[in-house]
Amino acid sequence: MITIVFSLFLLTMLVIVAVGILRTDNLFTAVMLSGIFSLIMAANFFILDAADVALTEAVIGAGISTVLFLGALALTAEYDRSPPVGTWVPLLTSSALGGVIIFATLQAPRLGDPNAVVHKHVAPWYLDRTPELIDVPNVVTAVLASFRGYDTLGEVFVVFIACIGVMSLLGRVRPRRDSIEEDEFDKRTDNLRHHLIPRVVGKMLVPFIVLFGLYVQFHGDFGPGGGFQAGALIAAGVILYSLLEGGPRGRELVPEWFSSLLVALGAFTYTCVGVVSMAMGGRFLDYSVLSHDPVHGQHMGILIIEAGVGMTVTGVMITIFHAFSRRGIR
């Protein structure tokens, strides 16, 4: 009951914000609103008992994504100057889509229905057997890292490839001469270096953010969190430093070679765990064989692969941010 009331509120807000995004022709406003959109979404995930997802959506959707969009806006344009193209076809297509879904879901299980099929088949097995097979309190982590570890491996490679892509797109080609190089830009703006309060408070926060990131990383077995969230948080700390001190200093703190090495190394670590478990006579990513005691092996495996995930995500987010910020201002 309570959940539904909150949902009504939040979801309605969600739609309003989405319509706002659609209607505005100021791209900056659109990005701001999409930040709000993500926050509402995250709050909604939280009341739907998805704590891990809520954390991830907030860090990635509202944090990293907003920063990236702003970076791209700075390099491209601030206004959407195009008139909408022939609105009828898109309108009909999307209405048809919506109609089909509403038609399909009329008989779907209502929110929170305990008799829904999803709660009857695979899920109870995870909840029942996790304490015995893997023995970590956070079932999401258990499923993520062990039962569906292969998916997570794939996911790590998805961020890896995104990083490679951004690097090869923005790393290689020099910007045109008429754009302002970053150093020059740095000189002109001073970034936030002369703004005392943000600088002092912000810099004080950086170590805490990193520390909190490490907490999320290693506490992921017990509470919401894990490699993805932790990686994004640590990266957010570095990004904060770069925002305060300017890109060049940010890159002094975490050099580019280091962050991109981190990316590859994380992915490599994860795969290695799989390969080692193969070499030790198990299936790929079967952590049980890593130690004499299967449960202990699982713990070890999850710890290492979460570390790998954390490394990759940290590296990726920092690399991508630097790639955008180094591009200069046009």
Partner: protein, 497 residues
């Protein structure tokens, strides 16, 4: 656990394992070499998997040691093995072929990233075909898509960028549609394992969600597979990608989406939705027929040779769609064989085009006059490939069309119409292939053009001819391809082997 038992995982793990190494070690020439070594290893593994499954055996490999439906399992049967062979084979051939041209186009600095992306693209495609988990397909689909974007955007022309952007948008919408479909399926069954899904989806009482799920999955995959009229991203993506990349993605990537379409529709929906075969037919037949005509017509009026071949791919995908829609053993066999054969044909043709592009610095048909004399071997390869597109006997295209027409003949009067359509589009293929051949052999070079006298380098010619001859070989000895395909077709339709 012997090495033999680990083979199913190795086919993709080798690639995933090598990718970060390729990216990290920045030695001169190393990225290409390590990528090549990994892809070839994977190809060998795929071949041995095919050898195991040709008897009709299905291999189940439990990732992480967790049994289905709780963990993710790899599910390898004749069809997946055939596809894995196609993908890794195309990848190896394109990589070996592209050793020189990629070195020019990509550059030393970005080579590690590029070849890591290449490895991951191969890994993503292979991962999609061997997995037995609906969500895992999505993850690997994204690996392959993202890396394909990276590969295409490495193209030298600025239009490569806008093509990449369009591909990203279309590809993401397609993948998201697939994800929605899987979500609905999960809502009604509570599982993600394909075998388990196939079983449980049959017990669902309210069929509406399943129906809509089928719609979303089919449309999403049709976008990724460039089924007409959802193909708009594809011609430009093929045209502006680096040449070796075009060879690879044209040979393998759209086929994989068609594979998933086939797998999902036959394995999951066919048994649960009443008259699903008819619905599938009504969805795919018009699209296939339209693709045949529209693709061929666009190809006939196209001036850029790469885009001409891309439009021809649109048409050829139409054939595969028709084969899938016929829901008979012969039709499916034809579709599956055509996936493989078209991969070989198109791969070989794009290789020939890459050779031409290397010497002529352009791929406009009109500028290729005299290529028949200047580059006889390259053009001969192109001609053999072109004959394959038309479906002349002794070329791989003939085998697949043979099955498609056989299947259509079983469908009665409507089938006779399909036969007519298939044959008319073969004739259209004659026209567009001939257009290029005529200019190359009988055209007079323009007076202001720089004369080309040199044949393509051997490092490019030899792989091209290996692919072309492999095509001829599988047209003559069909035991492997047709053998695997007919077993696959029977498995999909649930017919006794």
């Amino acid at each position: 656990m012997t090495l033999y038992d680990q083979l199913p995982a190795l086919v993709v793990v080798v690639l995933l394992f090598t990718a970060p190494i390729t990216y990290m070690l920045r030695l001169h020439g190393f990225p290409w070499f390590s990528a090549m070594a990994a892809v070839v290893t994977s190809f060998v593994v795929a071949c041995s998997l095919a050898a195991t499954t040709i008897g009709g055996e299905t291999i189940i490999y439990e990732m992480g040691g967790w049994p289905a439906p709780y963990g993710i399992v790899l599910h390898i049967d004749a069809l997946s093995a055939l596809m894995a062979m196609l993908i890794t084979g195309a990848s190896s051939a394109a990589l070996i072929f592209g050793a020189k041209s990629l070195a020019d186009e990509v550059g030393e600095e970005t080579a590690p990233a590029f070849f890591a992306a290449w490895l991951l693209c191969t890994a993503g495609l292979v991962g999609m075909v061997i997995t037995g988990d609906a969500f895992n397909i999505f993850v690997f689909m994204e690996i392959s898509s993202l890396s394909t974007y990276v590969l295409i955007s490495a193209g030298p022309d600025r239009r490569a960028l806008i093509s990449t952007y369009r591909y990203i948008v279309m590809g993401t919408v397609g993948a998201t549609f697939y994800l929605i479909g899987v979500g609905f399926l999960y809502m009604v069954t509570g599982t993600l394992n394909t075998a388990d899904l196939a079983e449980r989806v049959g017990q669902v009482e309210d069929i509406r969600l399943v129906l809509v799920a089928a719609g979303f999955v089919s449309v999403g995959l049709a976008i990724k597979a460039a089924v007409f009229p959802l193909h708009s991203w594809m011609p430009n993506a093929y045209t502006f990608a680096p040449n070796a990349v075009t060879v690879f993605i044209a040979a393998a990537s759209t086929k994989v989406s068609l594979y998933v379409l086939m797998r999902v529709d036959y394995a999951i929906f066919q048994n649960s939705i009443a008259n699903h075969d008819i619905q599938l037919t009504f969805f795919l037949v018009p699209l296939g027929v339209l693709a045949l005509f529209a693709g061929s017509m666009l190809a006939i009026y196209e001036k850029n040779l790469k885009r001409l071949l891309a439009y021809s791919s649109v048409a050829q995908i139409g054939y595969i769609a028709l084969g899938i829609s016929m829901t008979s053993v012969a039709g499916l066999t034809g579709a599956i064989v055509h996936m493989f054969n078209h991969g070989l044909i198109k791969g070989g043709m794009f290789m020939a085009v890459a050779c031409l592009a290397l010497r002529y610095r352009t791929v406009n048909v009109a500028n290729l006059a005299g290529a028949g004399k200047a580059m006889p071997w390259t053009m001969a390869a192109f001609v053999v490939g072109g004959l394959g597109l038309i479906g002349v006997p002794l070329t791989p295209g003939f085998i697949s069309k043979w099955y498609l027409v056989l299947a259509a003949l079983d469908e009665g009067w409507l089938g006779a119409l399909l036969v007519a359509i298939i044959l008319i589009s073969s004739l259209l293929a004659v026209i567009y292939v001939w257009k290029a051949i005529e200019v190359a052999y009988f055209g007079e070079p323009r007076s202001n053009a720089v004369p080309v006298t040199e044949e393509a380098p051997l490092v490019m010619l030899i792989p091209t001819w290996i692919v072309v001859l492999a095509g001829i070989w599988i047209a003559l000895d069909t035991s492997v391809t047709v053998g695997l395909a007919s077993i696959a077709a029977k498995t999909l339709l649930g017919v006794e082997l």
